[in-house]
Symmetry: C2
Subunit: 412 residues, 2 copies
């Protein structure tokens, strides 16, 4: 059960001109479950992505990166994205690369393109060989079913321990042109800055020059998918892909244009919705916590402190218990690694409640006020450092019994 | 229940000449519980300590550091250590310093010394004012009961969420001199490198010059108390104090002497026992995990990887479930932050089972073998990096339902 369930998944997910979606039940890990997804792109499409920084990055991540680079070099566009759940194809060495390549080759032959024009993605259990034959056996079904109006199925097809699909659509008007965008994402454990067992795909029907899209995907990820954490575990497979199909009338060729800024704002808004949905559906989550660190000397130190709070098991269990044991937040700030932090100037707020004043308990703070806020399902933790004018925000959830149950039983 | 409970607490804890111990039930947080401890030292004693690196270090930590420095400057030795549980006196600002000083002054007046000759320590809940009056009211009882043979009571008096007292004694012969040492420690959450809600006290009856003891305490902590982690939370109050009472016949004046090396080995051995006892009694712990990273380019990178594994909630829940979902260990290695790590040269062993070979699943690895080791209550995770000849070891425990229960209910 996600926080404030059900998640507001749009019932009216919009097709995006220039992208078709098909899926299959390939029985990769469990039967009768959508576990293979194909997203086929118009030849006008540009694609850009950000990937996990985990050194054990999965075979498909390595290949997707290489294929993206090849597309830029050769000018032969990306034709399709291929996603499977049930197996991460990570920690699988040379064999994993070879199996991922086999799936790309199989899809390429069905779509009449080269294997390097396919971007593969996998999510699921690590250190076990990809059942490539099952993935490949599912491809004809997925290809036969390709259609534009398939985003909800796409959202379902990439779920692992997610309890609910995550998807959204937006229509915006930029410079007189209508732009339609739809996106999907999945979590729900191993979520941490710089990607997680996190997959996100967002397509829009504008024409966006490749260098512009490359900038946009990083800018958006930095404000959205890279600001969430569930358990501090960065997965081997995280990817966020931005697809501009080029099928619409808006064309963006420069990051300096006002149209770019408007598009970036709209893509960021939908991406933040998709990223926050991952947290709301975090494994065992019962509360959605926003942590904002303000008046920092740099964004980096603000993020460091925000993540230190967001990763603390003691803080997270206190939220689960609705217990205003707020000293644990101070402790997490203190060990965040900001060595010259002067805690005597620090102030801490829980929503509108001023908890710590100048590094100590605010004399006016009443436990009942803290208790009231802790019982909410959505809580804002605000830290003011008095060191500068920079800030950062991180989104996280609490740590519950169900987190332990889910992760103790994941493979069974 | 600690791992392999009961912990092997020596029934025959040995008095250490030159140190007397008294305690009180002062009702600081709960009635009928030992919560104040006084350790009175012979005038010949030297004392050295290492303290939390948390920027929100507690008022007593700040004062203990200042009083230790004052003792060195003035030559007026430390007369007593004063420990209370039930309240950490952290995140308490100026008021906290003032209340801690009041307790030092009260004990000093009873022992006929200056307040700066008292070292204060507190552990318990953060962000709440120290009930100094209760501590002070307990002092006469503690002072009246001072006696040498009181180590087991000392171990009980510093417990918080610990399920069992942690204490040990050793007698060694160095250079023909008998040295007796006894120590106590407490956990059991907020345990992380560079101290935690961790208190450790070890006294020995040799005479050790102050500069030598200063080196020894750091060297020992680095090999013992700084190698344990339960939840990655570094507390505001951690302290490890080494006391050389000077009451015995051994005298050590140089770190270059063979006697120093023998003493260091003995102190390290007992300290490791006390540190590991904290992990075995970690909040909700059901398994004791030793993580060794070998063939690293530096100790720092070996520790980074060992801690990354030891802090991963996904790894820890897999241990709790006895589930050989060992890809999670690879993922934790991959995001440890060793940027140029070549995972294709990495090997992973679980006890005697070779799990990952050259970055992928070892073809000879059988799930049943992994399963067998995962069911043990004590498990060795061994990572070989093929980058050099440095190594590090970290001790941790699993993450269980009880961890969540204990920390969700801590204050109630």
């Amino acid at each position: 059960m996600a926080v404030n369930s059900p998640l507001p998944v749009a019932a009216d997910l919009k097709p995006v001109a220039g992208i078709e979606i098909g899926f299959a039940q390939a029985g990769i890990k469990k039967p009768n479950r959508k576990d293979v997804l194909v997203m086929k792109l118009a030849p006008t499409a540009t694609v850009a992505g950000v990937f996990t920084l985990n050194r054990f990055c999965a075979a498909p991540v390595q290949i997707a990166k290489a294929h993206l680079a090849a597309a830029k070099e050769t000018g032969k566009p990306v034709v399709a994205l291929l996603v499977n759940t049930g197996n991460a194809n990570a920690g699988t060495g040379e064999l994993g690369l070879s199996l991922a390549n086999e799936t790309c080759a199989a899809l390429a032959s069905q779509l009449g393109c080269e294997p390097s024009q396919i971007l593969p993605f996998s999510t699921g259990v690590i250190l076990e060989p990809l059942p490539a034959a099952k993935v490949i056996a599912g491809l004809p079904q997925a290809v036969a079913g390709l259609q534009a109006d398939n985003w909800f199925n796409a959202a379902e097809a990439i779920m692992t321990t997610d309890t609910q699909p995550k998807a959204g659509s937006r229509t915006v008007t930029i410079g007189g042109h209508t732009v339609t965008m739809s996106g999907i994402s999945k979590g729900a454990g191993m979520i941490k800055p710089n990607m997680a067992t996190m997959l996100g795909y967002l397509a829009l029907d504008a024409k966006v020059a490749q260098p512009v899209l490359d900038v946009l995907v990083k800018q958006v990820a930095d404000q959205t998918f890279n600001c969430i954490t569930i358990d501090g575990d960065t997965s081997t497979n995280d990817s966020f892909m931005l697809i501009a199909t080029g099928a619409g009338s808006l064309e963006i060729t420069s990051v300096e244009s006002p149209e770019y800024r408007e598009l970036a704002a709209a893509v960021t808004e939908l991406s933040l919705f998709l990223a926050q949905a991952i947290v709301r559906d975090g494994e065992g989550a019962t509360k959605f916590i926003t942590i904002t660190v303000e008046d920092a000397a740099s964004v980096a130190e603000a993020r460091k402190i925000a993540y230190s709070i967001g990763h603390s098991p003691l803080v997270k269990t206190a939220f689960f218990a609705s217990d205003p044991n707020l000293g644990r937040i101070l402790a997490a700030i203190g060990y965040a690694g900001v060595d010259d932090l002067d805690v005597s100037k620090l102030n801490l707020y829980l929503d509108d409640v001023w908890v710590a004043k100048n590094g100590g308990r605010n004399p006016d703070y009443q436990e009942a006020d803290g208790q009231r806020v802790m019982q909410q399902s959505e809580i804002l933790v605000r830290v003011k450092l008095a060191r500068g004018d920079q800030a950062a925000t991180v989104y996280t959830c609490d740590l519950s019994h169900d987190y332990v149950s889910i992760n103790a039983d994941y493979r069974s």
